[in-house]
Symmetry: C2
Subunit: 423 residues, 2 copies
């Protein structure tokens, strides 16, 4: 076969957009991911907080391309790239020769050199992370219900979230509502209304990427939900007992890490320069430096806008990059001249605070409150894949709205009531 | 407080029926379960086979009793019962004094002394079991897609189910349909239509508790779905490579155990006689021998009917026993004379074969085919708890009916493509 082989690593927003846009191009495409599913990460915090089920925000990648005979889906983990012979190595020992390689391998949470904090302060990037956090949160209430020592009980009923970006704010808001609205009538020995939700942020305000007025609104809305804001406090230590910050110790048995991001090791595979977060510093056409057949998109790429600000690590940016790379590949295939450099168009920033307020920053237009929440909700349902998921998520939200009851309050996996599970 | 304390261990069908029926009796009730959820076990095989999500068939127990101020729910695992001082010990160290104790702790799968088979041949009793089986089944197809050795590929595409009771028949039917109907268009290197699903049964026919004509119909329906029936074959050995039966070796990388049942260790806690499956041989009023304040119900109890046949280990039997014990407790509380012995009323046996056929044995009336399937489906939706679940399950089934696509095809938990995960 003379057809070109495009190997795409990563079935996130960037990778899928690219594969979608290469439809009908007569290319042979191989899409490799470590997971069998595409994950709608913007709603992952709702799985962690018992609102949605895992299957509502994840889809088997190979099903998405069942009609695309040009696309082969492989479950596999990349361990290296040989750019000299143009070959990707997978952990299984399999290799894939490519004509064009696109790395869209995303990012994971980072502990700034303190990876030993991960067992006590899990982050939120995968479905397993979400069910781990869900289990810890629910188990903390269960343990508090049977705990005789008031100090331990208080520590069990204190939830600390590190990092007040959108994920941290969203987690804090829902956990506070879970404790104050959903759970109180179900416990006999504890008052879940006295739960402390502590949001720790090293920067000067919550949601630092939003306009100051929206950030101020979010602070107020969080405070009204009962979230304690610890702004300008740096985390010094995380243990099974709590969080030591620059201002003191927070006795807290449940910690969630929403602070840092580290790119996947694409720069190491390619042996090219990376920024501090490990992102490949790409050329203006999103190729890796000196490797015109290797593109890097999404959270794995460091792209600087004309304004000097970096392109944010959000789904729309990854999609735009995937679409751009598809155009570059098609132009090359057609022998057309090079495209102008990639340019990011910011469509807006969104964040929710609990289940009735949100903020949206469209640049000139700024929205807050329940109007913003409805726009946020409709936009997210729109961006889900397929009728089934849209229907299922809308139904889950409607049900919570009507009944006040969260539908995914299951403690699963091997962890039990034993106290040694966090060691 | 002078109110009597009823301690119920186990939030399955028997335990919940009992607690429901004690409403308004002025008792203090403590309901203890190892899990935070009640599980609708009759549909668990559908979670294992990617049809339903975990949250569609499980409900947080404490939510079910949020309105019942007389009920305290505890997440905890029983490690012993001191019948002399009437006290239950939990693993956490907590104890519960009781006036009346009801053990409804269910059963687990049993390997007839070969517990070493469990890692390669998981059974199906919990949500974790279901997601484990789902992961193994989906990973087998993924591995086959990238496997170069034809013999290994064939072994990966061979699924063996041990035991042709309702669970084994249901698993075999859905896995066969998954391979022949849902997956074929999604793979490029393998033909999932050539998948072998092998059902091994030591007894003389499938579904031995059903009438022979229904059993024969089930055999025919399974064969039409492509399931290979190995009837009258005993399993001699299970390994990561396959199943050795009395007739030969089946090279099969995925094995599911649906053969044996072992009761929870209630008989040991009470130090009373048990039958071969570990069930407490109860008195005619469902009390443990010599312990008039301790009742045992459901899969933990061995009850013989007037006909000499044992009461089957199914949900309706557990519910009837829970309801009976509630009546006995209420009669004692009111100082009324003892009730007549427990009598089991068999309402019928149901089993499905794939997603369009079922058999129902009402005794005199026997149904099969799609009419039976519809009755089965409506009955199961009716018995689910709450509007949300009924709606969600009906929607999932309708979606599969309309689109042919299963909605819960996620590979989750830590297992990856590595081959060492089963060692």
């Amino acid at each position: 076969m003379s057809e070109q082989h495009v190997v795409v690593i990563g079935g996130g927003f960037g990778g899928l957009q690219l594969v979608n846009d290469l439809k009908g191009a007569g290319l042979r495409i191989t899409l490799v991911d470590r997971r069998n599913h595409h994950l709608f990460q913007p709603l992952l915090y709702q799985v962690a907080t018992t609102i949605l089920s895992t299957s509502e925000i994840a889809w088997p990648i190979r099903h998405l391309y069942s009609d695309r005979q040009d696309v082969t889906t492989l479950l596999g983990e990349v361990v290296g790239v040989d750019t000299a012979v143009k070959e990707v190595s997978l952990r299984s020992g399999m290799t894939q020769r490519y004509d064009t390689l696109v790395l869209a391998t995303g990012a994971t949470h980072a502990y700034f050199g303190r990876d030993d904090w991960e067992p006590v302060a899990p982050g939120l990037k995968t479905l397993e992370d979400a069910t781990t956090i869900r289990r810890r949160v629910l188990l903390a209430f269960e343990r508090a219900e049977t705990e005789a020592d008031p100090a331990v009980r208080d520590a069990l009923l204190t939830f600390t979230i590190v990092g007040a970006g959108p994920t941290g704010v969203e987690l804090a808001g829902i956990i506070a509502e879970l404790a104050s609205k959903t759970l109180p009538r179900e416990f006999r020995n504890i008052d879940t209304g006295k739960t402390r939700v502590v949001l720790v942020e090293a920067g000067p305000r919550v949601l630092p990427t939003f306009a100051e007025e929206l950030s101020a609104y979010a602070s107020k809305a969080l405070t009204e939900l009962g979230v304690e804001l610890h702004i300008g406090e740096r985390v010094m230590e995380c243990t099974a007992e709590g969080v030591e910050t620059s201002e003191g110790f927070i006795s807290s048995r449940t910690i969630v890490w929403a602070a840092g991001v580290q790119a996947s090791p694409a720069a190491k595979w390619l042996d090219v320069p990376a920024d501090r977060a490990g992102r490949v510093i790409v050329e203006t056409d999103l190729t890796a430096p000196g490797l015109p057949d290797v593109f890097v998109v999404g959270d794995t790429a460091s792209v600087i806008q004309e304004s000097g600000a970096p392109v944010p690590g959000i789904a729309p940016a990854a999609k735009q990059q995937g679409a751009y790379v598809a155009k570059v590949i098609l132009a090359r295939l057609a022998g057309k001249p090079a495209l102008p450099p990639f340019r990011y168009r910011h469509q807006g920033s969104l964040a929710t605070i609990g289940q009735s307020a949100a903020i949206i920053d469209f640049g000139r237009i700024k929205l807050k409150g329940w109007i913003a929440w409805w726009i946020w909700g409709i936009a997210h349902i729109y961006f889900l894949i397929g009728t089934r998921s849209r229907f299922a998520v809308a139904w889950s939200w409607l049900w919570i709205y009507l009944s006040g009851q969260h539908s995914a309050r299951l403690i699963t996996q091997k962890e039990t009531m034993r106290d040694d599970d966090r060691k």
